[in-house]
């Protein structure tokens, strides 16, 4: 099982992801420089958090035109696993691999704090080891994580069951008070219709070791590794 972690100028969570993949999971990691087109045979490509290209113009707007993204889009269109975290989620929306957009937090503040996530989908490769309705504690760290989609798109996303995570209270209740950024329907993460492209604002790589406050984020990484190993063994 090989993970690719894309590195844009201004990416800051690439090494955090790499640490989890190599040191915690014991899997292989390749850092994919934004100017390269070769995904080096990776089974899952992570677009990590940070401020790609300084977030100039709009978050993720410039990153979308980098050479590596052409390969990532093709990879995703052929069913490859593409996992956007924080800035990576913004890049996926700008690229059009995921619907909607992420705008400035409702309170106009950068929010860096633990968040609780209600798991809506447990049938994805990313969530295979979880149960629907499970609550994960994974931190957020963003100024522009306020999920927006026009009413028709939003209703489509809901009907298709594309919402994977919603901000909730520790007891799992999805209420406005648990919404840290103003996201519509408390949306913290969505998947494309095919289920292979996931975008989420919270940072699972920052909750993957007990020393760092918990292992809820690791559950997602483990799900990917277990599911992919099953697929690789089966083929």
């Amino acid at each position: 099982m090989k993970f690719g972690v894309v590195v844009f100028p201004g990416t800051w969570s690439d090494r955090d992801c790499g640490q989890v993949i190599e040191q915690v999971l014991g899997a292989e990691v390749r850092y994919l420089w934004h100017k390269d087109r070769d995904l080096q045979g990776c089974d899952c490509v992570i677009l990590p958090g940070g401020f790609s290209y300084g977030d100039y113009l709009r978050c993720g707007a410039i990153a979308r035109f980098s050479p590596v993204m052409e390969s990532v889009v093709t990879f995703a269109e052929h069913g490859g696993l593409v996992w956007g975290i924080c800035n990576g989620f913004q890049v996926l929306c700008e690229t059009g691999l995921l619907p909607g957009a992420l705008i400035r937090n409702e309170a106009c503040q950068f929010r860096c704090e633990p968040a609780h996530l209600f798991v809506e989908r447990a049938d994805l490769i990313y969530t295979a080891n979880l149960d629907r309705g499970a609550v994960l504690e994974i931190p957020i760290s963003h100024g522009e994580g306020n999920y927006f989609a026009d009413p028709a798109t939003l209703s489509q996303i809901e009907q298709n069951g594309q919402v994977v995570f919603r901000y909730c209270q520790p007891d799992g209740l999805v209420v406005p008070a648990a919404n840290p950024n103003g996201s519509l329907h408390n949306i913290a993460g969505i998947v494309n219709e095919a289920g292979n492209v996931l975008g989420m604002m919270p940072h699972p790589e920052r909750r993957a070791e007990v020393e760092l406050g918990g292992e809820d984020g690791l559950k997602l990484f483990n799900s990917v590794v277990d599911a992919m190993n099953d697929i690789l063994v089966a083929s």
Partner: protein, 92 residues
């Protein structure tokens, strides 16, 4: 070829909540500008370009807006194109 200056204005769509605009509005109200009923914050982008004529310049700028300058999921965009003499263009 002729030099043109395109002035592009990008704003959040009316249906998109604009937290920056709301914050500026509340700031203006606090300063006593009670007549302020709404504020929208956007971006002002100046693009200098060369083109055969104004129509060609407008076509190119429109394409720039579509492909990069605005995200049409959340933003509206409008622009003006004006001819510039070469010297003004060079000094900017």
């Amino acid at each position: 070829m002729v030099n043109y200056l395109a002035t592009v204005v990008v704003t959040l769509k009316q249906v998109v909540n604009d937290p920056q605009g709301l914050t500026v509005k509340s700031g203006l109200r606090q300063l006593g500008f009670d007549e302020v009923e709404g504020v929208r914050v956007g971006k002002h982008i100046e693009v200098r370009l060369t083109a055969e004529d104004e129509k060609a310049a407008r076509t190119r700028v429109s394409e720039m807006c579509r492909r990069l300058l605005a995200n049409h999921v959340i933003e509206d965009v409008r622009f003006q194109v004006e001819e510039q003499d070469a010297q003004v263009g060079a000094s900017r």
